[in-house]
Point group: D2
């Protein structure tokens, strides 16, 4: 998809299915979250450390287009890349595929704001330079 | 929002929060699902019965715009209405508010396809007349 | 079950089922948690306020005996009571039933420790007098 | 723990934490489930195939003793073994540890019944020979 993307192999958990016999549509949200966490780690930015430094990345918007069902027992691939990088936000693009069949499960975009975690209310702030550099891949 | 909308009062569960101290962004997906299920019930269409009759409503797309954080202990209101009704799909619109403060938590749209559940693969089909009538409110 | 018990009516959410066509066994954990939260509230002790005062109730042990399956569309009743009250812990007993059929879904026990939330590590401490009194019902 | 055990390395997902800043106690249930699924696969018995053959393993009872908190960013190890094998049920034993610190997070036991999935109600049946052999490890 992008030459700077990251792909997380993922094993569907039984409890992530629903009675329609497929992965429940909300279960994919945790796949997206886990993929961008690992992507950031691979770029040298641990999300846990970012929070310890007082910076969080709350989700501002999210859109998902479901293409086909995923099933328990299937091996999935979650591909993630930086779609847009702004002063105080970052948007990740995603494609989830069934590894065996090269079938697309969904495409998605998730926009995260950068925010100071100190106060009662989250306060938007510019991306720290080290995070911007990790996400920009330069 | 709409004169034909339905509002579900909802109590945040502790396990629906995350370590940022707010309701996790994926937890809202189950709120949206529960609100449209109750909305359909209130209109005379039980979703459990629909499935027993061989018809399901898998999610085709979903978009959420998060406006402010929700917290454990807050009473929420999930308002839902029919945004668009097509031959083989329905799109619900949503607004989640904090009841006490009249603060908007998020707005969302969820598009569901109508599908026959019989085979291995879900097969899109027209909305049954009784469902169309329940959603149209005529 | 107990003359001092509390019963929470509960509507199964679609996403709480799994592909066996029944409520997934982990989904009940959030029902137990929600029932004891409401029970405490009914006794005058908000759990959110308890945490704001620096006291948490982390789960120390949990045991569940599943008796029959619960299904989407069923109305459940979650009954909760104080099974044992100690200096620095409280054990809740539970019975979940299908409201329509008076069928028992499960019985459970959950032991919570009382802990100070201030430091990096949770530190066990005696139950505050106000909490002890709320749970004791005297 | 057991010479016939299986250990699954596991990365905590952000959404599995709660506002106490630790992994929510219910999140571990999906770790236990995933570990026994992988254990069975490693022994040559796919759980997905078992269900396609009309046999399910619903949870009959579950007990967990929580020893210490797990946190986002920690690498966990979920060790699982067969604790008891009966004619129509199997009990798995578990220990979850923090990989870096060799700290025990919890110990657990989960008993599964063997059941035919065909009818409306789950009907207990003897373990198929191939499953019994996979779990017995002989």
């Amino acid at each position: 998809m992008s030459k700077h993307s990251f792909t997380l192999p993922l094993h569907v958990r039984y409890g992530e299915t629903d009675q329609m016999g497929v992965v429940h549509h909300a279960s994919f949200i945790s796949y997206l979250e886990e993929a961008r966490t690992r992507f950031m780690e691979a770029r040298g930015q641990s999300y846990a450390e970012l929070e310890r430094a007082g910076i969080g990345l709350p989700v501002r918007s999210l859109s998902i287009s479901y293409k086909s069902a995923a099933r328990f027992g299937e091996e999935l691939e979650v591909e993630v890349w930086v779609e847009r990088l702004r002063r105080a936000s970052v948007t990740f693009g995603y494609e989830i595929r069934c590894a065996a069949k090269d079938r697309i499960i969904l495409t998605a975009e998730v926009e995260l704001a950068c925010a100071e975690l100190s106060g009662e209310e989250l306060k938007v702030c510019p991306l720290p330079a080290v995070l911007e550099s990790a996400l920009g891949g330069e």
